[in-house]
């Protein structure tokens, strides 16, 4: 890893980035200071270095001046390092002979108030980049294989759509869903805005298509436990929870459930109905198989019963099933684990969980659904009476700038339309009812959304601008809301039979752990962070892992499906590659210095460095394919026998010195 002793020939390019950099930093001064640095044979400033003209200038210079190092002072290397490395390669240079100085994100954009200091800082950053460039060495990328298969995690409408796009392209796809059936929240909805299609009527055919697609394997009742490897070659450990029912034998006749003695609140109906301990979540479930709820099954908890096993003619009940962990190899992963509704009981002022007639928007979907606990009759949970006066309260758990009670500061985007839909459905079924909506702002951006909302207004729904402070229950079970109407300035004191809380969409349960397993970042709102807020909306910071649906941020069904299409296309593109080139950032071990102490072996997070017996005693060896290039070994080695490729101590010290030089 010795840098060549020949004097390097460095080209420095200082970018104006239009006025983004040049508006603050004196780029000419930076260029001038760079041109006097050791080893610099040409320094230029360009309007847009990344443009075709900018790139051509560099290519020409490489040829004309015989450059062997290129330093670009511009935006963050996280944005354009790839672009410029590719340029170097095109010019026949080793791509690792590039160094960038971040004078935009970490200079002009944050120091716009002090041009002089910003210019000095930019000079220092360029000095440091040149110092590092002098010591760069050419590196060869290693090659990794590509497993042409994809795993989709989460089987809501986003995951289902992604799996179908992939399966139809002929790509083997595993759809991992933690519930006993795929379907997600869309399966629980009655109708969908703005067209009021019946939700399951449009979702169920897609679910059947998933089951029938020979390229798709549904792993229901399963969760991702561990992920290893990298783009093209992930190894995922999936825990397949014991279902106690053989999926292949069960035909879904339901004889078992008819005889099962245990009744449990039915979570699919938001606990407003009951199911048995052996159950199918909903009739259209995929896979269409029953499942035993081990927490409530009498046999599994008390050791006596097995009635279902006796009545099942097909012998599908298997009590000796246990959890299994399967390792699945895939080349790309799509994460589509959706959302969970905000837990309204965290806002005690609205009485959810205390007052039976305060429900959430998701509860409402079940109540109004023909397949739901009231068979589609609007009945309030407290006494099964049909409510006449209904109030909706918007933004429960959303748009809370103080983020109290676990609420989000963000707008959940869909709740206004959900309420518009639900209020409209009430008016449609029960024209005499009186419907009030307490809102902050009505947000109805979307194709056909505003028109739909205006239709609702025409039906006589009353919109009150203001967020009620509390809901009080009266003795007769009715609910009182006192609130200011911000539009008229009057205090409204009204009584209702039922209150619906339009709850926000929160990150799904278990997302923190899943993100850690996948090594993904979350944004401040708790959802998964996309690769770039504008240009890489379904990518992540990890190559080969993509996002679809609400797990990235709350969105409606069409947007979830659209993002799923994008994620599927990107995953398919990964799978179509012959091989993956990996950056060679691993350790180089000097065996003369290594004392075989095993510190590196003990600290490497990936088992990528091993101490082996050699003729000269115990020596560390790097296992290149497993190494991710973190540098932990190099920074720990007790004998300082390890040099990290591309991030050597020498390089870092040279950068440090150059940064601190007084110019």
């Amino acid at each position: 890893m010795q840098a060549s002793t020949v004097q390097p020939r460095i080209g420095v390019y200082v970018c104006h980035c239009g006025l983004n950099i040049a508006g603050v930093v004196d780029v000419v001064a930076v260029r001038e200071s760079a041109s006097s640095l050791d080893g610099v044979v040409i320094a230029r400033d360009n309007k847009y270095t990344c443009s075709e003209v900018g790139q051509k200038t560099i290519a020409d210079d490489i040829r004309e001046f015989g450059l062997d190092r290129v330093v670009i002072a511009s935006c963050s290397p996280r944005l354009h390092e790839k672009t410029f490395r590719a340029l170097l390669e095109k010019c026949g240079m080793n791509p690792f002979l590039l160094e960038m100085a971040n004078i935009r994100e970490q200079c002009s954009w944050v120091h716009s108030g002090d041009s002089e200091a910003a210019t000095e800082k930019a000079k220092a950053l360029v000095r440091s980049a040149v110092a590092r460039a002098r010591l760069l060495t050419p590196l060869l990328r290693s090659e990794g294989r590509v497993v042409p298969k994809v795993m989709v995690v989460g089987g809501g409408v986003a995951g289902i759509s992604a799996a179908l796009y992939l399966g139809n392209m002929g790509i083997k796809t595993y759809l991992v869903e933690r519930q006993p059936s795929i379907g997600g929240h869309m399966a629980m909805l009655d109708k969908t805005f703005p067209t009021l299609d019946c939700s399951l009527c449009i979702l169920s055919p897609k679910m059947v298509e998933v089951a029938e697609n020979e390229n798709i394997e549904v792993l229901s009742y399963s969760e991702v436990e561990k992920v290893e490897g990298q783009v093209g070659d992930f190894r995922v450990q999936v825990r397949r929870k014991a279902r106690y029912v053989d999926e292949d034998k069960c035909v879904g006749c339901g004889d078992c459930a008819a005889k099962c003695p245990v009744r449990v609140p039915d979570e699919f109906n938001r606990s407003m109905g009951e199911r048995k301990a052996i159950y199918i979540p909903f009739p259209q479930a995929i896979p269409p198989a029953y499942v035993i709820d081990a927490e409530h099954c009498r046999y599994l908890t008390q050791g006596k019963c097995r009635v279902c096993e006796k009545v099942c003619e097909r012998g599908a009940v298997v009590f000796d099933q246990t959890d299994r962990v399967e390792t699945i190899e895939v080349g790309a992963i799509v994460v589509a684990t959706g959302f969970q509704p905000y837990d309204a009981s965290k806002k005690p002022q609205y009485g959810y969980g205390r007052y039976p007639n305060v429900i959430t928007s998701l509860d409402f979907e079940r109540i109004i659904c023909a397949d739901g606990p009231t068979h589609g009759k609007l009945k309030r949970p407290g006494d099964q009476a049909t409510p006449k006066r209904i109030a909706f309260i918007q933004c429960v758990g959303s748009r809370d700038e103080h983020r109290l009670d676990g609420a989000g500061a963000y707008c959940s985007r869909v709740c206004c339309m959900i309420t518009a839909k639900q209020a409209f459905m009430i008016k449609e079924k029960y024209p005499d009812s009186e419907v009030y909506v307490y809102y902050t702002d009505m947000r109805t951006a979307g194709k056909g959304f505003e028109e739909f909302y205006q239709r609702g207004r025409g039906e006589g729904i009353v919109f009150v601008r203001g967020k009620p402070g509390e809901v009080r229950e009266e003795e007769d079970g009715s609910l009182r809301i006192t609130s200011e109407d911000l539009d008229s300035g009057c205090i409204l004191d009204l009584s209702f039979d039922m209150v619906v809380l339009a709850v926000g969409l929160a990150p799904p349960e278990g997302l923190v752990e899943l993100a850690q397993r996948l090594n993904l970042s979350r944004s401040a709102d708790g959802f998964l962070l996309e690769g770039h807020p504008k240009l890489r909306p379904f990518e992540t910071s990890i190559d080969g892992i993509f996002l679809a649906g609400c797990v990235q941020f709350p969105k409606d069904i069409p947007d979830s499906v659209a993002q799923a299409g994008g994620a599927a296309a990107a995953a398919a593109a990964t799978c179509s590659r012959q091989k993956i080139e990996m950056d060679p950032l691993g350790p180089v071990i000097d065996e003369d210095l290594c004392i075989g102490c095993r510190l590196c072996e003990m600290l490497c997070p990936y088992g990528a460095i091993k101490v082996e017996k050699t003729d000269r005693g115990y020596k560390a060896r790097s296992i290149e394919v497993a190494c991710k290039g973190c540098g932990v070994c190099g920074a720990s080695c007790s004998a300082r026998a390890i040099t990290m490729k591309h991030y050597s101590n020498d390089q870092i010290v040279a950068q440090t010195k150059a940064l601190l030089e007084v110019s």
Partner: protein
């Protein structure tokens, strides 16, 4: 050598016109991305910080943490991903172990540990990053310039500060020190080669004694590298007993690191081995 610590001035008297030089080591995946986000969101912070990008905070060798002090830095920041979020699983835990032990070295040498800062910044925390830098720069201003004599918290002259920084760099480059840093956590969690768990207090005491020895050895090396010195010269320079210096000098001599230069009067003088040529 704890008595090396000189009484400095009280913190807080801000120095007019003192603009600290701060070097930051930021991991590519979280903290550097967070710093970029501060830029994208146009959040201003002081120009004092200059960043070096590394793949992971776990790449930041203790030597790299101390090196900037030799070249005029007033403070060093090491920023990584939040615990549990490191792109490489556990690099930030290593960074934390290292910073904690380097702090012990700095304490021992009378350099304020506030000049070495460790924190976590996620890719989404642009605003937090900007605030963090602003606050840290203020705190360094209160510490005063590194080696700023009476104007600094430590009260060390420029030369004395550089000397001590060099001693610290050598200590953290030493084999015994590095082995202990790497094993520190495991020692208390998994136990030593005999499977005996070491309490964190005991591990700390062990580290402390290693640091004490290594600081004296490193100081002897630095001084013997400058000119022939006697044990008494060294002892008076370091302000510690000649007995301690003698012990460590004997050790260095046995290991062939220093050698006898001449005998002046009755005191033998030493130089770095091979330096006589």
């Amino acid at each position: 050598m704890a008595d090396l610590a000189v009484e400095g001035r009280a913190v807080g008297e801000r120095q007019e016109g003192f603009e600290p030089q701060v070097v930051g080591f930021l991991c590519n995946w979280c903290s550097y991305a967070g710093a970029d986000l501060a830029g994208t969101s146009r959040l201003a912070y002081p120009t004092n910080l200059r960043v070096i990008r590394v793949m992971c905070s776990g790449r930041v060798d203790p030597e790299i943490m101390t090196e900037p002090f030799l070249h005029g830095a007033d403070a060093v920041m090491v920023l990584g991903c939040h615990p549990g979020d490191c792109h490489y699983l556990s690099g930030n835990y290593q960074a934390e172990q290292r910073v904690r032990t380097v702090w012990m070295v700095l304490d021992h040498l009378g350099i304020d540990r506030g000049r070495l800062y460790l924190d976590w910044v996620s890719a989404a925390e642009g605003a937090r990053f900007a605030d963090m830098v602003s606050e840290f720069v203020e705190r360094v201003k209160a510490l005063g310039p590194a080696g700023g004599g009476p104007a600094s918290k430590e009260g060390l002259s420029r030369d004395e500060f550089t000397f001590r920084a060099e001693v610290s760099r050598r200590v953290v480059a030493g084999e015994r020190f590095r082995w202990l840093v790497g094993r520190n956590k495991a020692l208390s969690e998994e136990g030593n080669v005999y499977g005996e768990k070491v309490s964190p207090e005991k591990a700390g005491a062990l580290m402390q004694s290693v640091i004490a020895d290594e600081c004296v050895r490193a100081a002897i090396e630095v001084l013997a590298g400058e000119a022939p010195v006697s044990v008494r010269d060294i002892a008076s320079r370091l302000g510690i007993s000649a007995q301690i210096v003698l012990e460590q000098a004997a050790y260095l001599k046995r290991r062939g690191i220093i050698e006898l230069y001449d005998v002046l009067g009755r005191s033998p003088r030493y130089v770095l081995a091979g330096a006589r040529a």
